[in-house]
């Protein structure tokens, strides 16, 4: 179902004109309202009037995650706080998260692009959307919620977790669309099977899954186990949250809602803009955001752009699946995790050796996180309970930073592999295909 035909099927040339006009407006807004951007533009020798069309975007400086963290919490906002109606944030790297704000109009834009996402996934006003994304500072829950309401569907704001209850609600309320991370979808499917519930016989028809990278083979597994069509959705809080792009029923790349978010793909080393169908780093510029406009944000996500027409009729350019990252960020159960976050906790524990290994795996279709830590003479005790308390303490501290449960394993000294160059901090055993 195409929610907004006029916008989603707009002729490409017409949209380019619209994008050019919006880009000029955004650049001027950033220059005038956000000192960080003014400084960046001045250093690059760019004035807002130099940007006349989307082709000129290549002259604008990039914005990075570090820019956001340095200006924590509200330094990148372009409106006074009285106009901010909502704040969301990412999980914090070494304590400081990326904070984003929304005006009333930004929330409307978000609802609009999420209504398109839900439409792309197949649902409309007669559907019942079971929203199993977490509600809170994380953008997933409320993003889906507003979009589902906007499209006129019925939302079940069940949030994540409590899987047996998810299945009961699915049976009793007759949910037709499920929204959650793909790994959680698989977990729900497996749990239902254990309970003897055949999800394929329930009214559930669609699933929109995102917030973590997944593969076509995982899609196939979910589709078969649930008897649904599973659609990939994409977003990040720095741009708006979910709703940046979405697959349609053709399942051939994600339509970027590029009347709101202008995509580019660059070579992460040379920073040159790459032509279509060439893999590189995704970069986004917001075109309509008021509270938190962003110019050429380097997402660190690897993908590519596809500009050939899609049979669905939507004219947005599409991006491929995310194939990886240009930095060391891990996505575990939908949560962004940087090894530096775990390292900072370990460094705060006296007597813990600086050698550690983060072991990520998939157990019963859910991501598991273990942190291996070497024991030193200083913390070693001849009593089990003391060492177990140490494990528990580190687990609690990491959990409070990441918001993820973790198992700490104490290891003998020098058993964690030392490397000659860059230390190997992560062992990701999750299946890649």
């Amino acid at each position: 179902m195409i929610w907004n035909k006029e916008a989603e099927c707009m002729p490409v040339e017409q949209r380019r004109e619209l994008q050019s006009a919006l880009l000029q407006k955004t650049v001027r807004r950033c220059y005038e309202k956000v000192p960080v951007y003014r400084k960046k533009f001045d250093e690059a020798g760019i004035k807002p009037e130099d940007i006349r069309s989307v082709d000129d975007i290549k002259y604008l400086p990039f914005t990075t995650r570090e820019d956001l963290i340095e200006n924590y919490p509200f330094g990148m906002f372009a409106v006074p706080m009285e106009e901010i109606v909502r704040i969301h944030s990412s999980s914090g790297t070494t304590g400081k998260p990326k904070v984003v704000g929304y005006t009333k109009n930004d929330i409307n834009v978000w609802a609009e692009v999420m209504a398109r996402t839900i439409g792309c996934g197949g649902a409309g006003k007669n559907d019942i959307v079971q929203n199993a994304y977490g509600y809170g500072l994380f953008t997933g829950g409320l993003g889906i919620h507003y979009g589902a309401e906007k499209i006129g569907a019925t939302v079940i704001p069940i949030s994540g977790g409590n899987t047996k209850r998810q299945i009961m609600v699915m049976q009793d309320f007759g949910s037709t669309m499920l929204a959650c991370t793909p790994s959680y979808a698989l977990y729900i499917a497996d749990t239902a099977a254990e309970m003897g519930v055949d999800i394929r016989k329930l009214p559930l028809k669609y699933g929109i899954f995102g917030a973590e990278p997944w593969t076509d083979s995982l899609r196939k597994e979910i589709e078969e186990k649930m008897g649904i069509r599973a659609t990939d959705i994409y977003g990040l809080s720095e741009i708006i949250g979910p709703g940046v792009s979405s697959e349609c029923e053709v399942q051939n790349g994600l339509h970027v809602f590029d009347d709101h978010f202008l995509p580019e793909v660059i070579d992460p080393n040379t920073l040159e803009v790459l032509p279509p169908n060439t893999p590189g780093e995704l970069v986004f510029t917001s075109l309509t955001k008021e509270a938190f406009p962003i110019i050429r944000y380097r997402t660190r996500d690897l993908s590519m752009l596809m500009i050939d027409p899609c049979p669905c009729g939507r004219t947005h350019f599409r991006m491929g699946r995310i194939t990886g990252r240009t930095d060391d960020m891990l996505i575990i159960r939908g949560v962004n995790v940087f090894p530096s976050q775990i390292e900072s906790v370990l460094l705060g524990v006296e007597g813990i050796a600086p050698h550690y290994l983060i072991v990520v795996d998939r157990v019963d279709s859910l991501d598991s996180l273990e942190v291996w830590v070497e024991v030193s003479e200083k913390v070693f005790s001849d009593e089990i309970k003391v060492l177990e308390a140490l494990e528990k303490r580190i687990e609690r501290e990491i959990e409070s930073v990441l918001g993820l449960s973790v198992a700490v394993r104490l290891k003998e000294p020098k058993t964690i592999e030392r490397s000659e160059g860059k230390a190997k901090r992560v062992l990701d055993k999750r299946p890649k295909t």
């Binding site: 024991v375 005790s381 001849d382 494990e391 104490l410 000294p413």
Partner: protein, 143 residues
């Protein structure tokens, strides 16, 4: 009357205990008593040996984490109720036992129990006052 015990951190991995025993054996160190406490992830090996300083060095050189702890060794009559009489002596003084392990000494009729308690001096006093035989370190190392 305090006896030195060595504690060694071991990951639950096949062959680790054999490495400890092998390293001590090849240096002529004799194990007098041992216990192994384990969890799903790691274990703590507790040893009483005839030459504690040497044993410690041998193991540390092998990269093991080793800790010395004071424990007490008590002679317990090898008969029904023997252990209870010793435990009652400690319980009467509200002395908590962190852990303990026992072995039967081949040349005598008594069993020997190793106790790790928080306040070791108080423990020794409590046991002696009930007429229980607390062994000296030399006695234990020479067993």
């Amino acid at each position: 009357m305090k006896v030195k015990q060595l504690s060694i951190f071991l990951e639950n991995q096949s062959g680790r205990l054999a490495e400890v025993a092998g390293a001590l054996g090849s240096e002529g160190i004799n194990i007098r008593a041992l216990s192994l406490a384990d969890t799903s992830g790691f274990g703590i090996l507790r040893l009483i040996v005839n030459d504690i300083a040497k044993a410690r060095k041998v193991l540390q050189d092998k990269g093991f984490i080793v800790k010395e702890t004071d424990v007490i060794a008590v002679e317990v009559p090898d008969c029904p109720g023997g252990l209870a009489s010793v435990l009652n002596a400690l319980a009467a003084e509200k002395i908590n036992i962190e852990y303990m392990y026992a072995f039967v000494e081949k040349s005598s009729k008594d069993a020997i129990v190793i106790f790790r308690i928080e306040n070791i001096d108080e423990g020794i006093r409590a046991l002696l006052s009930k007429g229980i035989n607390v062994l000296t370190a030399e006695q234990v190392y020479a067993l």
